[in-house]
Structure formats: C-alpha cells, structure tokens
Symmetry: C2
Subunit: 172 residues, 2 copies
C-alpha cells in the first residue's frame, strides 16, 4: 500500500512537471505566433495606408479605440472620429504615398501587446511636390476572438518647446 502511494505521488509530480514544461513551451510558441501576427498587421496596415484604403486601415482598430494623433485636435475618442481623421489627412495628398514602418518593437503579454515604431512617409501634393514626414507611433493592442486589434494609438512629432516648431523629419 505504501509503495502504491509512493508510485501515485511520484506519478502526479512527474505529470505536473511535464504539464508545466508543456505549458511554458505552448506559451512561448503562442507569444512567437502573436508577434508574427502583429508584425503582419503592421505590414497590412502600411499597405492599406499607401493605397489610401481607409476602410481597410480602420479594420485594424477595435471598435472602442482611442487615439492621440500627430495632427489636431488633441484627441480622437472614437473609431468614427479616427476614421474621419484618416479621410481628412489622406484627402490632403492627391499624389502617391510611400510609407515604411521602421524600428518596430513588439512586446506581447498574454492577450495584451504594446508596440513602438517610426513611420516614415512621403506624401504627394497636388502640385507634384512631396511632403516628407517622420512620426513616432505607440500602440496598445488587445487580442479578441483570435484577432489582434489596436485599442490605443499615439502618433506624434517632437516639438521645440521654446519655438513651438515641430521637427517633421526627426532622427534618433
């Protein structure tokens, strides 16, 4: 009887260790998959941005999202407000847009992720000239029903506080 108890106890411990190891392996694989999914989201976002496809762009944001954008007003408290912001902004540039997302850094913690990146874009003006702008981007994403969506975004230029002038082409 004592032997049986020992065997059962040891088995339970071994099962526990195996289960924990498997759990940790599964977690680390999941985190790698999540990072890949989020990286793909930024690639898709950037392609939609260059195509000026606002509906596609907005598909990457959660319905209850909030944004501080590079441009006024101070805050875009709803998905609809942010959609209008993209329409207005992209409407300013009738020419082609080129854009790259650089220095993308992704941290995943379960069903939450946060990122930072640099958006480097050229925007075709009506007269054929191009505007060049570099922005800093911070995002928070949540995973829901297997899909990652941006829930909070902050885009900006650094500003000289003594002159109020932004550096539209900021460097590290």
């Amino acid at each position: 009887m004592r032997k049986l108890v020992t065997i059962v106890a040891v088995s339970v411990i071994l099962l526990g260790i195996a289960s924990t190891a498997q759990h940790l392996r599964a977690q680390s694989t999941a985190a790698a998959d999540d990072k890949a999914a989020i990286r793909a989201l930024y690639t898709d976002w950037n392609n939609a941005f260059m195509k000026k496809d606002v509906d596609k762009i907005m598909s990457f944001y959660a319905p209850d999202m909030f944004a501080f954008d590079a441009v006024p007003p101070r805050e875009y408290p709803t998905w609809a407000a942010y959609k209008k912001d993209f329409q207005t902004f992209l409407g300013m540039f009738p020419g082609p847009i080129t854009s790259t997302i650089n220095e993308l850094n992704i941290t995943v913690v379960g069903t939450v992720a946060y990122t930072r990146s640099i958006g480097d874009g050229t925007y075709g003006n009506a007269d054929g000239t191009k505007a060049h702008m570099v922005v800093r981007i911070t995002d928070v994403l949540r995973k829901s029903a297997g899909k990652w969506r941006i829930v909070q975004e902050h885009v900006s230029f650094p500003v000289d506080p003594t002159t109020g002038k932004a550096d539209m082409l900021s460097k590290p």
Copy 2:
C-alpha cells in the same frame, strides 16, 4: 458505491464553482487595487514633477524603459537618457511649476496596464513670466515584485502638418 461516486462528483463540481467564483472575486479586487495603485503613482509622479525632484520622478520608471517625449530628440531609448531629459527640461524653468494630470484613464490586464492622460502645466521662466503647456500622455506599465512601473511613455503636442506649428494649449 454509486451514491458515493455521485456525492464525490457533486462535491468536486461545487468546489469548482466556489473556487471559480472566489478566483473571479479575487481578480476583480486585485484589478481595483491595481487601478488605485496606478492612480497613486500618477499623484506621486505629479508631486515630484512640481518639486523638480528628478530622482523621485525616475523612481516611477522601469530600468528598461523607453520614451518618445514631447521635446527632441526623436526618442529616449534608456532610463539614463530620460533622466537627463527631465533634468534639461526642468532646468529651463527656474520659477515654480504647477501641474495637473487630467482625464486619466487606466486599463489593467493582469500585470500589464495602459493609460492615457492630459498633463496641464505652467512653468515659471527666469523673467517671472509663465509658460503654459498641455501635453497628451500615453503610458504602458508593468507590475513586478508588487510594484507598478512605467515601461513605455509617449508625450506630445498635436502639430499642424501644413505649418509644422504645434498647438501647445490643445483642447479636446
């Protein structure tokens, strides 16, 4: 024997329900406690900021933090760089500082939290005049050893992209 099995099965189910309910209660209490702790962090941060106590300010940031600040350069990739940024910025204003953190919105998900807020401050210049600045703030915080610390910060002014001029007193 069948009766015993039924009793054991029902007991296990009831224990499971009780344990889940207790777990959910504990989680919700923990989230409320975490929100209160993070709210207190912002109060303490703001008091330290008004006192120009850079060491105290920096105690609210994790050692591996990263920041996009309102002022150039583009990024502050280390704790040490951000400390120097606070020293430089606060050094610009020999007069008193008043500051409030408004519209603070906190979301806690386990050991990660993200916030947004508006920092409204007046900064005493050497000639007795005051500079007034309103910034948008996004933070990501992580809980480690029971303490919440800011791991990623983004502070900015909205900027008119056609003029490159920041709105230093932006309104919602």
